[in-house]
């Protein structure tokens, strides 16, 4: 027991430590309250993400009060800095969507995660923007080739069918002739040859059927072509959209790299600690 007694802190020590914890907690709460009161964003993030107790976090943000506050604050700051950004929608209390300007077939391209906070180009979009090559039409050419192939394939099958049908013709004739020359006993003169001919005929007919099955009829062929043409059009339209978006990026931010750098710089500036907050910053 003496060893355990030695490790056991004294009541005084426990009390002091508990008081210190509560004190710290209170202090944190107070400075959090103050940060919210003065809308000191950098401070709010620092406390909220740092030492604020989990329970307190959850309680204070019960109905997304903190999220909403931060979202609104960030939204206002963002639009003040980037006049060309347009708000599209809030997809969750902490995730907001924006786009660059207004355009035909417009879509959200800039994402804001309020909780971090983080601002970034939607990854799929960024990928499309980065990899877009206006002069590269290989994707479209590929579809053109596929359409051509459809025709070629069907024509080849068609000519193969015709080839077989040509072979079948004399065989049928021969069979007919032999059948006419049946003897009174209802037997052909050369049984073996006759059977062989019948066999060849059967084989040829089976082959023709097989080829025909592989071949598209006209409606199927047209349907498949139309499907390809639809793909073709969709790609064209999407390329036009990306072109338009890149033109807007260039117009407002001179380049994609510059846009990304500006967005990052904005967050850095946004989180710069402020000494005291101006009294007139209470419009919110």
């Amino acid at each position: 027991m003496p060893t355990s007694q030695e490790q056991q802190p004294s009541f005084g020590e426990v009390k002091a430590s508990a008081s210190k914890n509560i004190g710290q907690l209170l202090q944190d709460l107070q400075s959090f309250e103050h940060a919210i009161e003065t809308e000191n964003v950098a401070e709010i993030y620092r406390i909220y993400q740092g030492k604020l107790h989990k329970e307190l976090k959850e309680t204070s943000n019960q109905n997304h009060e903190i999220d909403n506050l931060l979202a609104r604050k960030l939204h206002d700051a963002l639009l003040a800095r980037f006049e060309y950004l347009q708000f599209v929608k809030k997809i969750s209390p902490t995730l907001l969507q924006y786009r660059i300007g207004q355009y035909y077939h417009q879509r959200p391209t800039i994402m804001v995660d309020v909780s971090v906070p983080k601002i970034y180009i939607e990854p799929t979009v960024l990928n499309e923007w980065r990899n877009f090559n206006e002069t590269d039409h290989s994707q479209l050419k590929e579809i053109e080739q596929k359409i051509n192939q459809l025709d070629v394939q069907n024509l080849t099958l068609q000519s193969e069918v015709e080839e077989l049908e040509k072979k079948l013709l004399p065989i049928n004739k021969q069979i007919q002739q032999m059948a006419q020359q049946k003897t009174i006993f209802n037997r052909v003169k050369n049984e073996e040859e006759y059977l062989q001919l019948l066999n060849t005929k059967k084989q040829l007919e089976a082959d023709i059927q097989k080829l025909n099955a592989q071949k598209d009829d006209d409606t199927t062929l047209n349907r498949r072509k139309e499907a390809y043409q639809q793909d073709y059009f969709n790609i064209q339209l999407h390329r036009a959209l990306i072109t338009k978006e890149l033109r807007l990026v260039q117009k407002y931010a001179t380049s994609l790299d510059h846009l990304e750098a500006e967005l990052m710089q904005f967050i850095t500036d946004y989180l710069l600690p402020r000494e005291e907050v101006q009294a007139n910053d209470k419009g919110f």
Partner: protein, 322 residues
């Protein structure tokens, strides 16, 4: 105008000659007959013959006068042709059908003269002209205006396009009206029926404008028209049919493929097409999905045919969906 009065004098001179010579003999015989008081069948026949001779002379004189008129027509310059037209056609002074035809043909030729550059030739029928690019028919309308109808040559003769009336010359007031609304027929023949090519329409626009330019040189006032290259285009249209999203998509694709062009979304259903040289086409879709279009060629002076053949991808916007 002095030439007109000279013509009248000519006729009167002839008439005077016939009046003065024949009745004198007539009176002599009547006097004798009254004295003798014997009226024979022979006399009656003779009197009938006399009437016959009078009308034969009249017919011959008319014919001679018309021949002389035709000679005057042939010798006339354009101004003289116009005054002859004014006198004989508008004021309905005596003129034979043939002379009238010739008069109108000569005036037509003078108005079509610039087309000699594309081999203007007289056709088989009296009012038809041929050129390398198209045929022309001239005719008078109810107000005696000279109308020109055009039919562009097509490669496939079975697909003959109709004659389209485009120009009306008022020869008295010297004004030219252009039937802009028939422009749509030409556009359809090109874009929908594929009977005409874009190139043909572009050439036709050039030829037509040569005619307008020449008419102005001849002292005609040419009404402002969409077919005239002399003006900046600022014009509103409503699409003939509904405009689908597919049509707008295709225009968008085309615009994005050219650096100088752009496409702006102004509002939910309102768009702006930006072309080169500050030219713009604005349009919005009304509640029936019809496009209300404004074409603005900025400082560019060009006809609607020139504009649309330069930007053929815009034509579906005017026509709409099938």
């Amino acid at each position: 105008m002095t030439k007109d009065s000279k013509l009248e004098v000519q006729e009167k001179e002839v008439m005077h000659f016939s009046e003065s010579s024949i009745p004198r003999e007539d009176i002599d015989y009547t006097a004798v007959n009254e004295e003798m008081n014997i009226q024979t069948v022979y006399d009656e026949t003779k009197q009938k013959d006399h009437q016959k001779i009078l009308s034969l002379i009249q017919a011959a004189e008319d014919e001679l006068a018309d021949l002389k008129l035709r000679r005057v027509i042939m010798e006339a310059d354009f101004e003289k042709l116009l005054s002859l037209f004014n006198h004989h056609v508008l004021n309905e002074h005596k003129i034979s059908t043939l002379a009238k035809q010739i008069l109108i043909e000569y005036i037509s030729y003078e108005l079509l003269r610039p087309l000699s550059a594309i081999d203007l030739q007289k056709g088989d029928s009296f009012n038809r002209w041929y050129t390398k690019h198209f045929q022309v028919i001239h005719r008078l309308d109810e107000q005696n205006r000279l109308i020109f109808e055009f039919q562009l040559n097509v490669l496939n003769p079975s697909m003959n396009a109709a004659f389209i009336p485009l120009l009306a010359f008022d020869l008295l007031s010297k004004e030219v009206e252009i039937f802009d609304h028939h422009m749509a027929s030409l556009i359809r023949l090109w874009y929908e029926d594929h009977i005409l090519s874009r190139n043909q329409l572009a050439l036709f626009n050039h030829d037509l404008n040569q005619l307008l330019l020449y008419a102005k040189k001849l002292g005609f006032t040419v009404e402002q028209s969409l077919l005239d290259n002399a003006y900046e285009l600022i014009v509103n249209f409503t699409s003939q049919r509904k405009v689908s999203e597919l049509i707008i998509d295709r225009i968008f694709i085309k615009l994005m493929s050219v650096k100088e062009y752009d496409f702006e979304l102004v509002e939910q259903q309102a768009f702006e097409i930006l072309l080169d040289h500050q030219q713009k086409v604005k349009f919005y879709l009304d509640e029936n999905q019809f496009a209300q279009i404004t074409i603005d060629s900025a400082q560019q002076r060009r006809s609607i045919l020139d504009f649309l053949t330069s930007y053929p991808f815009l034509v579906p916007l005017l026509i709409g969906s099938e």
